[in-house]
């Protein structure tokens, strides 16, 4: 028996054996099914809804940070335009996990783009607008090579009568200009707290999650506008506490179970623990160690020790730098000049970390610089 043996070939959803059928991550379970379900992206959704009504779609470019609804929106739109059946012949979705080199652009994409538009059945036409074109979704397009993108240009133009493209990416600058300029651009913003709050509340209600005050706020703080991250955090926290309605049902036949209401409530503390955010006390102790005193040499060894501990405790350097930045820049204790120099040092640090520099040396270097800057500005 091998790990790779195919069983029935496809990934049909037939649950096997004793496996739990409810194993859908909430992010998928609560993926918006229609444009109306998409929170917060009012502008994009507004415009797209109009295109559904008049059935005229431009080429589109969706861009924005992770977990803001780009993929969900286009899937919902495709569904609303064609319905699930017709979508099979009218929509081609390719993402970074598919081979998308130049040869694929020349063959697969081109062939799909130029193929005749299939006819909807009367039933399909009655339920969906079924506009007379196909839709090619290139998700995660920022990972396509420049060459592959260039090769797309012609295809996009040549078959624009019967095919629309939707490019999706995180960084709009990674899409070559000639492509970007052929598309209507839709910016997906990090989710506003208000809308995201409502969405999380709905999910908690649907799943029967019990939580104390402030939990949703702290989830949102940790997720920083990324709703996917927020939902994942929420689900994990709920599972840790066994605080969803599902868990209750499972436990019903276990009579011995002592029902401990309090322990089944998601707490702010547990969110903080799993969110990866560094506790304020840790950040403060680092910053404190960087504040210069007259005893330079003692100063240095304290700082060196503090950095070593934080690194060995495994905190992510990126996260540390982010929070150090916020603490220093929003503090009233330092003047503008010092802050300017600190921000410049942080910029360099960020770049180095991204290039793969050693986290220990890099964070130590940053704090030593900060210390030097503060010493001079006093």
């Amino acid at each position: 028996m091998s790990f790779f043996t195919k069983q029935g070939g496809s990934s049909s959803s037939k649950a096997t054996g004793t496996a739990n059928p409810r194993q859908v991550p909430w992010v998928e379970k609560y993926r918006p099914q229609s444009l109306d379900d998409v929170s917060s992206q009012d502008h994009a959704v507004e415009v797209l809804k109009r295109t559904v009504l008049c059935s005229n779609l431009p080429h589109m470019l969706f861009y924005g940070p992770p977990g803001t609804g780009k993929t969900s929106t286009i899937l919902a739109l495709a569904n609303q335009l064609f319905g699930p059946d017709l979508a099979k012949s009218r929509v081609l979705e390719l993402n970074a996990s598919d081979e998308r080199g130049i040869s694929i652009v020349r063959e697969k994409i081109k062939n799909f783009a130029r193929a005749a538009v299939s006819n909807p059945t009367a039933a399909q036409r009655a339920k969906y607008p079924c506009p007379p074109y196909k839709l090619i979704i290139l998700d995660e397009a920022d990972s396509m090579t420049q060459d592959a993108q260039s090769a797309l240009r012609r295809t996009m133009e040549t078959y624009s009568r019967i095919t629309r493209f939707c490019l999706i990416c995180n960084y709009v600058t990674r899409i070559i200009d000639p492509l970007a300029s052929r598309c209507s651009k839709f910016r997906f913003k990090p989710l506003e707290t208000g809308n995201a709050f409502v969405r999380l509340q709905e999910i908690c209600k649907a799943e029967g999650v019990r939580y104390e005050d402030g939990v949703i706020e702290s989830v949102l703080l940790a997720a920083d506008g990324d709703l996917r991250k927020a939902i994942t955090l929420l689900q994990s926290a709920a599972k840790l506490h066994g605080s969803t309605a599902d868990d209750e049902i499972v436990k019903e036949d276990n009579v011995m179970e002592v029902d401990d209401e309090a322990s089944k409530t998601v707490t702010v503390r547990s969110i903080e623990e799993i969110s990866g955010r560094v506790p304020d006390s840790v950040i403060n102790s680092l910053v404190q160690a960087a504040i210069p005193t007259p005893r330079i040499s003692e100063n240095f060894s304290t700082l060196q020790k503090a950095v070593e501990n934080v690194i060995l405790d495994g905190w992510s350097a990126m996260q540390l730098v982010l929070q150090i930045h916020d603490t220093l820049v929003f503090s009233d204790d330092f003047d503008g000049r010092a802050k300017n120099m600190i921000v410049a040092a942080i910029s360099e640090t960020d770049k180095r970390l991204l290039d793969g520099s050693d986290e220990h040396i890099t964070v130590l270097d940053l704090l030593v610089k900060v210390s030097g800057i503060l010493r001079k500005s006093n």
Binding site: S2, Q7, E140, S236, A317, I361, K369
Partner: protein, 345 residues
């Protein structure tokens, strides 16, 4: 005969001795039925892998420990054949990017799709999904990471990923957004000393507690290193006493000698001599950034307070260049030259 590090590796979550709150968390996730994708990060030797193997056992039972190695062949778009080893049990599979070099994207695309499209073969498996563990995930190329994104969403009914990394800085944001972050801190000195004592007891070795403490401190909170040290001390000494000396690894002795050279003499011939030592270290596969880092921490106690900041500055500067440049020796040498200069001034 296996090493003590392997022989005494805890097999289940409740046997893990430190970070017990983390073990509890992993165990409730494993029993909850909807296990998320995980990104497990922390310093090396902190016990990430052990914890994950234990979690897998909690998920699937002892079957995950029946491991086999398959050799698989992949064909690149340019028709090159790649051979690649895959470690797997019936329930999970393990891959390591450094084994696949620059072709990691192709392998990931193929392998994960294949896994995702096959059902659990063991019909009585406790979970419907299979797990793919990716070691050293921070060494995946950007392309390979991008290839994971939609796969992680699309195939989530059949597939969970566990990414292991030393740090999250090199994991792209869209992947971080799709995983639950799990930090594994290095064990404290006390944690390590306790484990050393318990291993010693199982091996019927008498270990004075002050020696255990010293090994723990010397290890720099690296449990693997501490256990290896203990075993080698045991094999080299008839009796372990509170003042049994702990030997420094050879390569660190060389780095210390470079630090001494740098303090003593500042000339072109001296630099040449140091360069030879660098070459020697590199030829023994000591990574350049480890050399520079160790050198920095050997130099710092030897220089004045005023100079310390500057030394850190240049060490960080050249360490960065090691990653972005092409030949590491240049940057090691440049750091040495720079040090000689600022030390003279």
């Amino acid at each position: 005969m296996s090493l003590w590090v392997d022989k005494h590796r805890p097999k289940s979550l409740d046997a893990l001795s430190y970070h017990s709150d983390l073990s509890t968390r992993l165990s409730s996730l494993a029993s909850s039925g909807d296990f998320p994708h995980l990104l497990v990060y922390g310093p090396s030797g902190a016990g990430k892998k052990t914890r994950i193997v234990a979690t897998l056992k909690e998920l699937y039972g002892p079957g995950v420990n029946k491991i086999k190695i398959d050799s698989r062949v992949f064909v690149t778009p340019s028709n090159r054949k790649l051979e690649f080893n895959v470690v797997s049990s019936v329930y999970h599979m393990e891959i390591t990017p450094s084994d696949m070099g620059n072709n990691d994207r192709i392998i990931i695309q193929e392998l994960l799709k294949e896994v995702a499209q096959t059902q659990q073969i063991d019909l009585s498996a406790r979970q419907r999904f299979k797990v793919v563990v990716i070691n050293e995930a921070d060494f995946l190329t950007r392309d390979a990471q991008a290839a994971l994104r939609r796969t992680m969403e699309k195939y989530s009914p059949n597939l969970r990923l566990i990414l292991l990394a030393n740090s999250t800085s090199n994991i792209i944001a869209p992947i971080r957004s799709r995983t639950l972050l799990v930090r594994v801190a290095a064990p404290t000195h006390e944690d390590i000393a306790k484990i050393l004592s318990s291993v010693a007891k199982k091996e019927k070795v008498s270990l004075p507690s002050s020696l255990a403490d010293r090994i723990a401190v010397e290890s720099g909170r690296n449990l693997r290193r501490a256990l290896l040290t203990l075993e080698s001390l045991y094999s080299q000494n008839d009796l372990l006493s509170p003042d049994t000396p702990i030997p420094t690894p050879d390569w660190e002795i060389v780095v210390s000698s470079i630090a001494d050279d740098l303090i003593k003499e500042h000339s072109a011939p001296a630099l040449l001599k140091i360069r030879a030592k660098f070459y020697d270290l590199l030829s023994h596969c000591i990574p350049a950034n480890a050399i520079l880092k160790t050198l920095l921490f050997r130099l710092l106690p030897k220089v004045d307070a005023e100079l310390q900041s500057e030394v850190v500055y240049w060490a960080a500067f050249y360490e960065h260049r090691i990653h972005t440049g092409s030949k590491v020796i240049f940057h090691l040498e440049a750091f040495s030259a720079k040090f000689m200069r600022i030390f003279e001034m």
